[in-house]
Every structure is written in structure tokens, then in C-alpha cells.
Symmetry: D2
Subunit: 308 residues, 4 copies
């Protein structure tokens, strides 16, 4: 099974966890979603992300999910989110999924970390615990973790923790951080793969600043694939045309807390998953929201047709 590394490029889609109407994991829908993501051009997948429904599945279910997705993904890498308040739990889940063939694991800093030293120390400890052969994705998502990682602290991590391979970049605002990291590399610092999050809300600019792609979720992952491809090739006008067509929906899906329900509704409407159920606790979209999404989808279709 392929491992991620600091040259990893492209689009890693954060996969949804489909449930049946009564809350059981729907493995058939999961298979279809995995196939769909790769058919849309994904280079890899990420599962059990912290903003999804990972906290609603048991540890046994987590491992079942990982096994199914890794098997289905075949030769394509799968990253597994293992963030937890406890190091023991991170270690336990990591061993299990690496044994199953995961391509690496993703860790976000716990919200108790405050100072630069604490943040750098935490990732050193995680890397030491998991071992140098487990490639790490560092999830930098202050809006969710409440931990702000400065460019200085990030550079210290890059230098002192070699197993950190990918930065899942979803600081906001975050464009300056990409530029700072690439500048440090131009001056000799070890390279880091940078894959962007936040649903891709700044994807054209991020790739132009030096990001290697995206690691995030969106109901239309083909947008991310196309934007990354065109922007990487310097075809910015085309990248922006595509991006702009999806932006009204993307903005809507990026609402914190609500977004996952929107994404599942879209994937369900597209016929990829059988039900848009969120496992408890998780709300149903109200009729107003469904009407809003339908309107956005219909306009998006028209716009994409214009674009050709």
C-alpha cells in the first residue's frame, strides 16, 4: 500500500461516512463513494476527519471503515484521522490502520496547547510515539482546534519532526503561511507537501502560492481536481472560471456545523450515497435550506454548461 510523503500532490478527498436511515453504517454507499471520488480524479482519500462524523462511530466501527476504504482504494493512498485527547488512543488507532495499509495518519493539535513550545513538543511526542515510519499529516485548522500555529512554530516542526510529511492547511487567513513556508524551503528548509482545506475556498490562490493540492471535502470533488490541475499548469483563467462556477455552493457548504448535512444532501441527490442521514446527534436540513441548495445547484448546472 502506498504511503504519503512530502512530495505528495493532487487532491485527497475527505470521504463522508454514509449511514442508513436508521443510523447503521451503509457500506454499499461507502463503496460507491470511494469509487466516485477516484472516478472524479482524486489522488487519495482521507477518512475520519475531525469535522465529520468520526466522533459518532465506535473504535471498532472506525477500524471497519478504514479496512473497507483501504481495500476499495487499492493502490491509491488513504489517510486516516486519528486525533484524540489521549496519546494512547492515537497510538492504538494508528497501529491498527497502518497494519490495514493506510498511507499515513492525520493529527490535529489538542485545544489545550497554547505556546509555540507546547505545539512543537506535542508533534515531537506524537512522532516519537508512533515511530518514524508512520507519515503524518499535520492538520492546521485553528477555527476548529482553537490552536494557532505560527509560521515560526511550523518551521520548527518541519525541521525537528521528519515524519511530518503533509500540512493540511486550513488556517484562515492562510495565504501568507503558504508563501512563508515556500520561502523557507527556497532558503534550504526541508520540503513539506501542502494540501489545502476549508472546502477549497481559496484553492486557486493557494495553488498559485505554491500549495500542492487539496485535502478537503466538497459535494463536487471534480471542481478541486480541475482547479488544482489547471492552476498547477499555470492556466489560472480556466482554474478561476471553474472555481467561480462552484463558489456559490461551496460558500454555502462551508458553513460550520451545517456543512456536512449539505454535502450529504448533494451526494445523495447525485445518487452516490443512498441516504443523507447524519448519525445522532445531527439535524435534518429544514425545507428552507433544501430550497436554497436546490436553487444553487440549478444555477451551478447552468453556469457549467455555459463554460463548457
Amino acid at each position: 500500500m502506498p504511503l504519503i510523503d512530502n512530495e505528495t500532490r493532487g487532491v485527497f478527498v475527505i470521504a463522508v461516512t454514509p449511514f442508513t436511515d436508521d443510523g447503521a453504517i451503509d457500506f454499499d454507499s461507502l463503496d460507491r463513494a470511494v469509487d466516485f471520488y477516484f472516478e472524479a480524479g482524486a489522488d487519495g482519500l482521507t477518512i475520519l476527519g475531525m469535522m465529520g462524523e468520526a466522533p459518532k462511530v465506535t473504535q471498532a466501527e472506525s477500524i471497519e471503515l478504514a479496512r473497507r476504504v483501504i481495500d476499495r482504494a487499492g493502490e491509491r493512498p488513504v489517510v486516516v484521522g486519528v486525533s484524540s485527547p489521549g496519546l494512547a488512543a492515537i497510538d492504538e488507532l494508528t497501529r491498527a490502520v497502518m497494519d490495514l495499509g493506510a498511507g499515513g495518519v492525520m493529527v490535529a493539535p489538542p485545544s489545550t496547547l497554547k505556546t509555540d513550545d507546547q505545539i512543537v513538543g506535542y508533534f515531537s511526542l506524537v512522532a516519537e510515539t508512533l515511530g518514524s515510519d508512520v507519515p503524518l499529516v499535520l492538520q492546521d485548522f485553528p477555527l476548529a482546534t482553537n490552536v494557532t500555529i505560527s509560521a515560526a512554530a511550523l518551521n520548527r516542526i518541519v525541521t525537528s519532526v521528519p515524519s511530518v510529511a503533509i500540512l493540511k492547511h486550513e488556517d484562515w487567513p492562510g495565504l501568507a503561511k503558504i508563501s512563508a513556508l515556500r520561502k523557507a524551503e527556497a532558503e534550504g528548509q526541508r520540503r513539506l507537501s501542502i494540501l489545502c482545506g476549508n472546502g477549497g475556498l481559496f484553492l486557486p490562490e493557494e495553488v498559485a502560492r505554491g500549495a500542492d493540492g487539496a485535502m478537503t471535502g466538497f459535494g463536487f470533488p471534480e471542481m478541486m481536481v480541475d482547479v488544482v490541475r489547471h492552476a498547477s499548469a499555470g492556466e489560472m483563467a480556466r482554474a478561476r472560471d471553474i472555481f467561480d462556477a462552484y463558489l456559490p455552493l461551496l460558500r454555502y457548504e462551508q458553513q460550520p456545523g451545517v456543512g456536512l448535512a449539505v454535502r450529504k444532501y448533494v451526494l445523495c441527490r447525485r445518487g452516490i450515497i443512498a441516504s443523507d442521514t447524519l448519525r445522532r446527534p445531527g439535524n435534518k436540513l429544514p425545507p428552507e435550506a433544501i430550497a436554497e441548495i436546490d436553487a444553487l445547484l440549478s444555477r451551478q448546472d447552468a453556469r457549467l454548461k455555459e463554460l463548457g
Copy 2:
């Protein structure tokens, strides 16, 4: 001078505070900005907002700014932000600006408030201190204040604090809160004016859900005016066409912390203010950012021409 009330509708633009290159207040630019906002169709202005440069001006300068803007605005209402950790300072600035002819004052909850009772109690205390004749704008902006006001707490404030006239709505996600408030009114609760913030990032949906307009800043306030007008008239397709044309820039300008520099750069490029200087502490936009904004502006122009 006109006062705001709970029937206030339309667009209140959050005005920038222009500075000269060496950091002095540029009153000529301020006059031009005020004229520009009203020519763009604004129904009122709001100054000294908490996300702007209010903390960088002295109390004496605050009062000078308020005097100049209120005078220039003539018969149009001007709301003044008076949020402060201390009630004495809120009271002092409120008395000064109401004497100058302000249309009302805007208050955000201090970040020390935690429970529903504390939040409701705070606005009761503010209203009691300022007196029932000073109309209040309640700024509901959890991303900046770290205070989440539930729909239940908001309804208690509406019921028990009659001088709260306008909700400056910038909770995120926040569409459900508008629906909840309008539903409570349909069942007999006192009406509140709802003007939306966050740069208008959800403006078409917000107006369709029952909001009365916008109170926020953006380099192209004419967008807000047009979107509110069309969406209020039920012309949603036209509202969305206009909104979508500005959305790529709007998204860029909404980056927290960076946004004001973007807005000033745009207003300066449009010839409205003489300099895009931010008073210290405040960064210059790096060349990458300027190139990004220029690209967005150029595409926006083209798109607006297409729209006609």
C-alpha cells in the same frame, strides 16, 4: 437627526476610517467616502465598528470622526459603535455621539459573558444605563466576540429590552436564526430589524429568510444595495446574478484580519480614499495579495459587463 428603529430597512455601510500615509485621519477622504456610500445607495452608515480601526483612534478622535460623518450624512442616520469592556466608557461615548446627532449606537457583548442569563443581563444593564431613548444595535458576531447568543437568549432580549432596535446579524452559520426570529414574531413577539453582516456573504439567502438588509462593509457597497433591493422584491435570480459576480472578491475580502487592508486597497484604487494606509499596528498588503486582488477585480469587471 433621524433615529434608527425596529422598522429600519436597507443597507447601512460600515464606513472605513481613512488615514494619510503618515497615520493622521484624512477628513477629506472621509467626506468623499461618505458621499460615495450614499451615492451607491446606502440608507445609513455605521462607524467605529469593532473589526475596523476603532481601537486605534483616541476617544477625542472618535468623537471628531462621529461629528464629521454625522454632519456630512445630513438627514441619513449614522450608527456609532461604542463597544468597550467598561460600561462607563460605553455611556460616555454614547452621550457624546447622541448629542452630535447619531441615529443609535451599536454594542457587542464582551467576551467574558458565558451563560444565557449573563448575556440577557448585560443588554438589560446597557439599556438601563444609556436610557430608553437611545436605540441600540445588538452586534451578534461570535467569531469576533467569542459569545454565542442562542435564539432563546435573543428572544428574551427582544422581549425584555425594548430599546434594542436592530440585530446586526453575523452569526455563522446564521440562516436558521433569522428564520427562528421571524417565526417568533409571527407568533406575536415584538419585531426586530435584522441587518446582516459578514460582508454580505449570505445576503441573498438572508433577505429571502426575512432579513431587512445589510449592515457591513465591502469595497463595492453597490452590490449590497442591489442584492437587497432585488431580493426584497422577490427577484432572486437577478439578486443572485449580481451577488455571484462579486462573490470571488467578497470571499477574498472576508478573510479575518486581512480584509480591511483589502477593502482600503479597493477603495483607494476606485479613487474614493487617497491612501490605503492602515494605522499602526497594521500591515501592508504583500505584492502577491495585490496581484490576486487585481486579478479578481479584472474578472469582476468583465463579469459585470456581461450581466449588463
Copy 3:
């Protein structure tokens, strides 16, 4: 196995998790600690508390710990901390430990909860998920959880969630909350058992205000037993004499983050556990701290001898 309920009184000691020098769980020391707590007069025990080393043990180890302590405790109730970001994990661990004979489980609110409605809704959901036959301890510890539960929200939980049996009260300041709760009960609200935390830092006052005892950790649990006994019997002078003798050390042990190392050092010096090792990540006490504790212990001994 005995269950806790809303008439539970006395002292539930938060048990430490002893490790050997190389980080394995030291079950012999655990047995000795359990015996020691009951010999000191404890009415029950609580394990896997959120401020201890619960996050450093795997789920399998958690269950082993619970089994060992519950068996050793015999007819005395054992509460198990099950707080987790995910409801599925709470459910899984609860079922396991209730099957082993736990007396109830303890749940703290996740730090994402903000409003009264969210807090009340969370405990309703937990209770519904775990079932009405599992008695709950609600841990109210804002300093650690960052969630402030108002007296109003607490009263709503008491009324609407019957399986909440005990309030582990460690709000700070918190005396007024005890008085408010007992007043509501005097006016007809369902009774709640109130056991106090924070190492017992306000124990004489808390019992005098109507608390039923303590649920917390301290290197000298006999202090808590004596203070609760005397204060409950109205012998406040004697309760305070004992409390004051231990207060200098208690204050020192209550330092957040550092306290557990202090407690383990004391228990090790008293011969109850074999090693004061904290599992990684966890620091050794520096020599200055050890000298400070030794000085406090020596003065405490002298003071207790004076008291008789």
C-alpha cells in the same frame, strides 16, 4: 453492585492510576490505593477522571482498570469517568463498565457547547443514549471544560433529565450555585446529590451551604472524610481546624497540571503506591518542588499533632 443515586452522601475519592517506573499499570499499587482510600473512610471511588491520566490509557486498559477497582471495592460504589468528544465512545465505555458493576458514570460537557440550550440538550442526549437505568454524575468544571453552566441551565437539567443523580461541583466560584440549587429544592425541585471537587478547597463552606460531601482527589483523603463528617454534624470549628491544617498542602496540590505529580509524590512517600511515575507525557517534579512539598508535609505533621 451498589448504584449511586441522588441521596448519595460522603466522600468519593478520585483514585490515581499507579504506573511502574517504565510506564506499565501497577495493579498491586492500585489494589493498595483502593484499600487505603476505604480505610481512610471513603464512601466510594471515582476513576478515570478527566484531570488525571485517563487519556493516557487505552480503552482496553481503561476496562481493565475499572474491573480491578470495582472488584476490589466490593460493596462500595465506583463511578467511572466516560467523557469523550464522541457519544459513541461514551456509550461503548459506559456499557462495558456498567456490566462490570460500576455504580454510575461521570460525564463532563464537551468544550464545543456554548448556550444554555446546547448544554441542556447535550445531557438529555447522553441520558437518552445510555438509558434511564444508568445513574449519571454531571461534572461541572468550567476551568477545565471551558463550559459555564448557569444555575438556570442546571435547574433545567435536574428537571428534564432524571438520571442525573450527582453534581460533581467544581465551578469556581461556586458557593452561590450550591445555595441556589438547595433553594430550588426547598421550593419543590427534585433533589440532586452535590459532591464537591477542586481538591476540597472550599469544603467546610460547601458542606455548610448544603453539599453532601466531596468527589475529588487529595493526597490525604482522611482530611475530606473528617471535614465532611464534622461539618455535616454542624461541628464547624473542628471541621475548620482540620481543614486549615491541610490547607497549605491542598493549595499546593491544586495547581493545575502540576497537581497530579504532587499527589502521586505524596502517596508514594506515604507508602501507598510504589512509584510516583506519570505516564508520558508527564514531567518529573523538579528538586525545588520536592523540597517545597517536604517542607509543607513536615509543617502539616506538626500542626496535626498540635490539634490532636
Copy 4:
């Protein structure tokens, strides 16, 4: 007027702001309080501290308070708290009080600061704005500011911002930080004066670790004076005897939010201020609390008599 510097030692009492029953500043009581603090052995005073009633007085009143206290203090230094969200306000108040003869100003970091670089940058900016001739007290109080300053960041500030003269140390736990700072100085770093806060809750240990004294409030400032004197002279047993006698009340007065009402009640009972009124918003102590304080005072008297 004497200025503070990095050799400042002893006890700076945080002075209360006395009000009459109807909320006016009671300048006669203020004079008596100033005299009382110096008669108790204070080496200086600090006014307008962030945990006190500074936010409840207008800017004009702040300056009146500073003038009165500075005049009354004569040749003894007075530090003035100037913390504010806005740099302009800090600058304005600093100029006013330095002109009146203040000995320096105290600044706490605003809660928006997250990273080491942001914290160091903030104090550089403040120092540059105020000028190198204004000695600064850096208030390190994470419980109130929500900003954690690591030892590393503190050392950077010491090195790069020469006008920072005193650390008002109220991190908790904080003993290790004192040791780290003194160790850095032993290795050549510039000296900082360290005066401890938190009501003196760790004062014997702090002085033994190298602190120069205290800068905090307590109803019995003579405790701080005696503890600092004896502990500085190496008479730790005597220092601890005195400290322990006051500790039960000190613990009670350190309750956040409630403490100031306790302190004013004590100072009023001691005949120093005429009324224990807190200016709005501020609660009256309930009868239970008054009974608790009275009991603590009576036991404290007895204990002090025993001590001689």
C-alpha cells in the same frame, strides 16, 4: 516622582477604588486607603488593575484617581494599569498619568494574541509607542487574559524590550516560570523584577524561588509585607507561620469575580473605607458569604494572637 525599574523590590498593593453608597468615588476613603497601605509597609501602589473596577470609571475619573493617589503617595511609586484593546487609548492614558508623576504603567496582553511572535510583537509595539522612558509592568495573568506566555516568549521580551521592568507574575501554576527566569539571568540575561500576584497565594514559595515581592491585593496587606520580608531574609518558618494564618481568608478572597466584594467588605470592617459598595454592575455579598467571612476573620484573629 520615583520610577519603577528592574531592581524594584517589596510589596506594591493593588489599591481598591472606594465608592459611596450611591456610586460616586469616595476620595476621603481613597486617601485613608493610601495611608493605610503605606502604614502597613507597602513600597508602592498599583491602581486601575484589570480585575478591579477600572472598567467602571470614565477616563476622566481614571485620571482624577491617578492624580489623587500619586499626590498622596508622595515619594513612593504608583503604577497605573492602562490595558485596553486599543493602542491609542493605552498611549493616551499613559501620557496623562506619567505627566502626573506615575512610576510606570502596567499592560496585560489583549486576548486576541495567540502565538509567541504575536505576544513578543505586541510588547515591542507598546514599548515603541510609549517611548523608552516609560517603565512597563508586564501583567502575565492567563486566567484573566486567556493569553499564555511561555518562558521562551518571556525571555525574548526581556531581551528585546528594555523598558519592560517588572513582571507581574500571576500565571498559575507559575513557580517553574520564576525558576526559569532566574536561571536565564544567571546565564547572562538582563534582570527583571518579579512581583507576584494572585493575592499572594504562593508567596512564600515564590520569594524562595527568587521573586522580589508582591504586586497584588488582599484585605490584609501586612501579611504580604511580613511574608516578603521574612522569606527574603531566609526566615521561611516565620514567613510560613504568618502566611498560614491568613491563608483560609486569602483562599476565600481569591474567588474570581467575588473576591473584590470580599476585600471591600474586609477593608470596610477594618474602618479603612466608608462603604463596601461596588459600582454597577456589582453584586452585594449575600448573608451566607458575610457569615463565612466573619467566621474566617475571627479564627484569623485568634491564630495571629497565638503566633504573637
